[in-house]
């Protein structure tokens, strides 16, 4: 096995991993602030992917142009989901929240199955076959742009949380729920906003991912698990951690596919998850609780 091949696989793994990372970033932001684990995260991702295939098939819209309308729609959807369904559950026990989101996930997966059927959908654009040459490493154009979209979105989200007043208010809610209430923040509204922003991450990641893989309804639960693995490895609630976790999982999946068997790749991800939970439960970049 040549070095070039490994280098190619690693580069592809990093790029795919950045898209994974953006998806997981949404989960991490939602958990970090609302303290609810979104068990319907991967299902939302597949909805975004299907939306991109529909827009492409009907209007011929390039998936990267779908990002804006999809992000808007997902923001509203996430806002309403949190405001309408999840807010009443934030004081309930964990298993109760879990059940709520599992029910939402079951409805989503099967609604997709009803509408689109079980067969895989994909998007074919001409630049999917093109690539950049960096020395001996070939970088797929589609994969590169997908990763770029993920990085840009993550950067925008970072700066929103870092610099804007609303972003600071949301961080205040996450740091001290009671304190946020005392200074007069509308915590429930900020929770809804946060869920909306987390959903935007999913929308962008979905539109980017649809260029890299075919979408089927069962991909949803698989992505939910993948997002869990990534945020725990990176640190649940840590934003850079989600991206780092995404890259690590992307590379480990790619290498496992190359050296062992593609079907065994998730075993490595889960093995990594178990190790991290035991040795560094707060994740690589997470802060100790």
């Amino acid at each position: 096995m040549s070095f070039d091949l490994v280098a190619n696989v690693v580069v592809a793994g990093v790029l795919t991993g950045l898209v994974y990372g953006l998806m997981a970033l949404g989960l991490s932001v939602i958990f970090g602030v609302v303290r609810v684990v979104n068990f319907a995260h991967g299902e939302m991702m597949t909805i975004a992917m299907y939306a991109a295939t529909v827009l492409f098939a009907s209007l011929g819209l390039d998936p990267f142009l779908c990002i804006l309308p999809a992000a808007l729609a997902f923001f509203v959807f996430g806002y309403l989901l949190q405001a309408g369904l999840i807010n009443p559950f934030i004081t309930r026990p964990e298993h109760s929240q879990f059940m709520l989101l599992v029910a939402v996930a079951i409805i989503m997966v099967n609604a997709l199955l009803m509408v689109f059927g079980p067969s895989a959908r994909s998007i074919q654009v001409d630049y999917q076959l093109e690539s950049f040459e960096l020395g001996k490493v070939l970088v797929d154009k589609a994969r590169f742009f997908a990763a770029l979209a993920a990085v840009v979105t993550a950067g925008l989200l970072f700066s929103f949380f870092k610099f804007s007043l609303m972003g600071k208010a949301i961080r205040a809610c996450a740091d001290n729920h009671l304190g946020a209430l005392v200074v007069g923040l509308d915590v429930k509204k900020l929770y809804a906003l946060t869920f909306g922003l987390g959903s935007v991450c999913v929308a962008v990641a979905g539109c980017a991912m649809v260029l890299l893989v075919d979408v089927t309804p069962p991909l949803g639960p698989a992505y939910t698990l993948l997002a869990f693995v990534i945020v725990i490895v990176g640190g649940l609630g840590s934003m850079p951690g989600a991206l780092l976790g995404g890259v690590l999982i992307g590379v480990s999946e790619a290498l496992a596919g190359l050296f062992v068997a593609p079907s065994a790749k998730s075993m490595f991800s889960f093995g990594l998850l178990i190790l991290i939970l035991l040795l560094r439960p707060q994740g690589l970049l997470g802060k100790k609780a």
Binding site: H95, S96, F98, M99, V102, I106, N110, L113, V229, G271
Partner: protein, 320 residues
Amino acid sequence: MTRASAALAVLAIVLIALPAMVGNYALSVVTLILYFAYTGQAWNVMMGFAGQLSLGHALYVGVGAYAAGGLFFHYGAGPWAGLWLAMLLCVALGLVIGFLAFRFGVSGVYFALLTIAFAEFTRVGFDHLDWLGGPGGMFLRVAQRDTWDILNFRGPPLMYYYAILFLCGAALALCNLLLKSKAGYYWQAIRENEEAAQALGINTFRWKMLAVAISSAMTSVSGVFFAFYYNNLFPEQIFHISRSIEIILGPIIGGVGTLFGPILGAAVLTLLSDGITEGLAAMGWEIPGIKQVFYGVVLLAVIMFLPNGIWPFIARKLKL
């Protein structure tokens, strides 16, 4: 005799006499209900009693099923030997997971995700274990449908019905006993407030480990039942996270931590799922996925309007 025990006695008599009254299809539905009731009861020991949320109980069903099924498949040993191997393996697994989690302070959501991780890890592992069939599945020698071969647990559906009915009754009695024992009170103290329990001098690590051991041993038995009732095992099906969710839906819908919640929840969900199938077939709406959408909506409604489950609500209404 209290109203509750009278109602239980009536239910027991009805269930014992049921095969004489209904056909094979209804019997298979009730068998399924009892299977979920038993497995839910086993999960409830860990979550409902001791407050440890496991989202990976399919792990114990799967390992139990493959242990007994593998012994039968390769060596022709009946489930009476396999049962012990299944329990041994599952208790060992449960204790390892419990030890790692509790010693390293993994709790709450993190504990739940750890249990998922172990189940998924095992699922992919079994997919690559050719000795036990791998992804192509393992098929047990099909039962002689007319004679009761108790030694090999092969026989007509009636035999499986009584076996799972017995298991359900035994699990109910065991859980009743556990809840009223010292362990039960310790568990509830840990569930409500672990730090307070620790401050009172309860060795929370030890009692949580006991809950995991009992729960995993009980769940392994449903795995053995599953293997011999269905005769085929696929890692993709038995270990999958949706199986773990299926196991815990019953007790959550019925009422976490109650004795009758898992039974009621299993009955409600199985009948609901069957009812939706029948109803949709009658209306000619046979679109793949539509049944689960209805199911999800009902689930959503129950969890929103009856947060403690159906059983506490009914028990209050009936003054049981």
